[in-house]
Symmetry: C2
Subunit: 204 residues, 2 copies
């Protein structure tokens, strides 16, 4: 009786957002109704537009408004390189480096058996198909695994390496080591140990 039903509905609906519990949802609903009704309506419209217009690119699996996304359709990209990343945000980071001009495949997640996300849930068959279909467009020189260096990202990279090498394609993993500008004194021992383990010979 005390809380209007449309307000209760809104509070419940806000909980579909990740990381939003009952208290945050309540605070968000109060804020929108009290201070930002225009923002709430704009958000409603944006949600509808995004849901009806955004699909996954059939080549790279990234979010796209077209069957093939702009990046995959671009003739300027090197079709011989394929970089596998976990999320669209990772792809954006790679693009910001401006050092990579190949293609991408976005997993939209990582293998995480504890959360029930296995090879099937990640639709890794799409990645295999993507690699198999490559020959029609030119040889795939290399697949670069750029998943995160977390336990799950590493496990995913391991799994993908086995899967893709079975397809006869060369697979590499981005380097682990000290960050640019990094000092030995500041870095954690795990990273330093990896940097020693994966040291590169200095050419004379």
């Amino acid at each position: 009786m005390v809380t209007p039903s449309h307000l209760e509905d809104l509070i419940a609906a806000l909980r579909c957002l990740p990381g939003v519990g009952p208290k945050s949802a309540q605070r968000m609903a109060y804020h929108l109704l009290q201070r930002d009704r225009a923002g709430a309506l704009h958000l409603a419209k944006s949600l509808e537009q995004a849901v009806s217009n955004i699909l996954h690119c059939s080549k790279c699996n990234n979010f796209s408004e077209h069957e093939i996304c702009d990046l995959c359709a671009s003739p300027k990209r090197d079709a011989g390189l394929l970089c596998v990343v976990e999320m669209p945000a990772d792809l954006l980071m790679m693009e910001q480096t401006q050092c990579y001009r190949g293609m991408y495949f976005v997993l939209m997640g990582r293998l995480s058996p504890l959360d029930g996300i296995g090879a099937k849930e990640l639709h890794l068959d799409r990645l295999v198909r993507r690699v198999q279909e490559q020959p029609h467009e030119g040889r795939l020189a290399e697949v670069i695994l750029a998943t995160n260096f977390t336990v799950e990202g590493d496990a995913t990279a391991h799994y993908l390496a086995t899967l893709l090498q079975a397809q006869g394609v060369r697979v590499s993993r981005i380097a682990r080591g000290l960050p640019v500008g990094g000092e030995l004194e500041q870095v954690d021992s795990g990273t330093l140990a990896q940097a020693v383990l994966e040291r590169r010979e200095v050419m004379g």
Copy 2:
């Protein structure tokens, strides 16, 4: 080029939610598009419905779907008592105690000069009018100030006490002290000091 424009719109729109920065907004957008499109559409609808149906009760200022909310319209409540709270959530907490059967006034905030929220922004004239209009319905025996015991809530209570006493109405503040089941050893010294200062005589 890399992020579809509808996705960018959605990420921007999500930032109208309090406590949501660019990274959270991105994570929310990815989650909704990838795993919960039905939830996103439901949220859009709930936002629209709430914005178009929820207004403020003209008596207590709480969110309501009607001109006068159910609580204010109820004949079972004691019209001689008025409890002032900061937010609708505080009203719910008061109701849960089941010890108060009077009316409410919801400030929808607190005085907070640093955030630019003064007496005008809180529309305290509505509260004064609410108190002045009371005589037509029966004498107002007491206004109970139940704002939070934060710096801002306390300042608000102080301001309201002066404002309402000028209207010739009796004003009280809910008690400060040790919580039920509280131990002296566990409680913070500020609370203990207040509990000593505001001690009550034990009737023999």
